[in-house]
Symmetry: C2
């Protein structure tokens, strides 16, 4: 007798939540998190504002989830490339390149994820995922130091510094899409030098 959620309804609800998240990410891709208001999302998704609250208990939950999903894709891409075969410097080089290339491929999104002024909730998530990047780098750097491939250093500090270097150095160039290749290469070399890989042999 009682009403029970049927599979069809469950699926529709999932689809609706997914549609909302997609619409929200589109808004962020176009105008950063500043463009992601409940009103804007509701009208972009073609629903009433109240409907948004059926799927997210509040704004922070929404923005945090949008940030999390987008950032996880980035972290995963960098993580994947850090696991390739080769020396530690090969891996770090590939990671820097991927980070840069992906940022150039979606500049506004990159800016939103990396540097846009946002509500504290998103900023906390940002900190968390920066640590995730740093943890990935730290592991590889530590291995490189152990094997003698990299100069002795504090892996945790170098890793954080790499994250900062990557993020900051792209902020300016992101709107100069022509310099993409040059910038990517320069950033990669900077990172390699920073962790103590000799780029050009000095002892012929």
């Amino acid at each position: 007798m009682a009403y029970r959620e049927t599979p069809l309804v469950t699926q529709r609800k999932l689809a609706q939540k997914s549609a909302l998240l997609h619409a929200a990410e589109s808004l962020v891709r176009e105008g950063g998190f500043g463009a992601l208001t409940i009103q804007a999302l509701a009208s972009a998704a073609g629903v009433g504002v109240g409907t948004v609250y059926r799927y997210f208990s509040n704004k922070d939950e929404l923005t945090t989830e949008v940030f999390r999903r987008a950032t996880i894709r980035e972290v995963d891409a960098v993580s994947a490339v850090l696991d390739i075969n080769g020396t530690m410097s090969d891996r770090l080089a590939a990671a820097a390149e991927v980070f840069s290339q992906r940022a150039f491929a979606a500049p506004k999104l990159a800016w939103a994820l990396i540097a846009e002024p946002v509500e504290p909730a998103v900023d906390i998530a940002r900190l968390k995922y920066r640590k995730k990047y740093a943890a990935l780098f730290e592991k590889v750097i530590a291995k490189g130091v152990d094997s003698g491939e990299l100069v002795p250093q504090i892996p945790a500090l170098s890793a954080a510094a790499l994250v900062g270097a990557m993020a900051e150095s792209l902020l300016g160039p992101l709107d100069h899409l022509e310099c993409r290749e040059l910038t990517t290469a320069a950033l990669r070399d900077f990172c390699l030098r920073a962790v103590g890989v000799v780029v050009e042999s000095k002892c012929p």
Copy 2:
């Protein structure tokens, strides 16, 4: 017959504005820009909220001015040390050390200036002063590249990356004041390697 501002009054007004700015910076030193509300400032300075508006036309002007004054001190300190005699790497090393030491000396302020989530107006100022740091580094790096002391590179990119590396790598350690020396040295070495100075001779 008409009322005209007497030197005494002019001086009092200057003193009042200065007192407000000092009180505002104290609030920021204790709790970041988040703690700097007009209400809090007014009661900290022992005046009514209306009085604050006699000296600053709006909140953005106030916060921006507090940020500007504090940051200029930092930029000047780094700038001064970049002008010392010595090789370009000596200068960059000194700059990294000064940046780090000053951050450790006032951790909450450093956090507020570098990374705290703030209203867009302050964030714009932040961007501006990050560029100022970068410009200082860029000059020194360019000189070093020209003289062959540093590896070939894009000075503007390396400079931005250095700024990012310094800022990011201190975010974590700032509450571990014990590691101050070690962290400072590690950051300095990271920066020197990054710009292509060979820290340890490889050709005996």
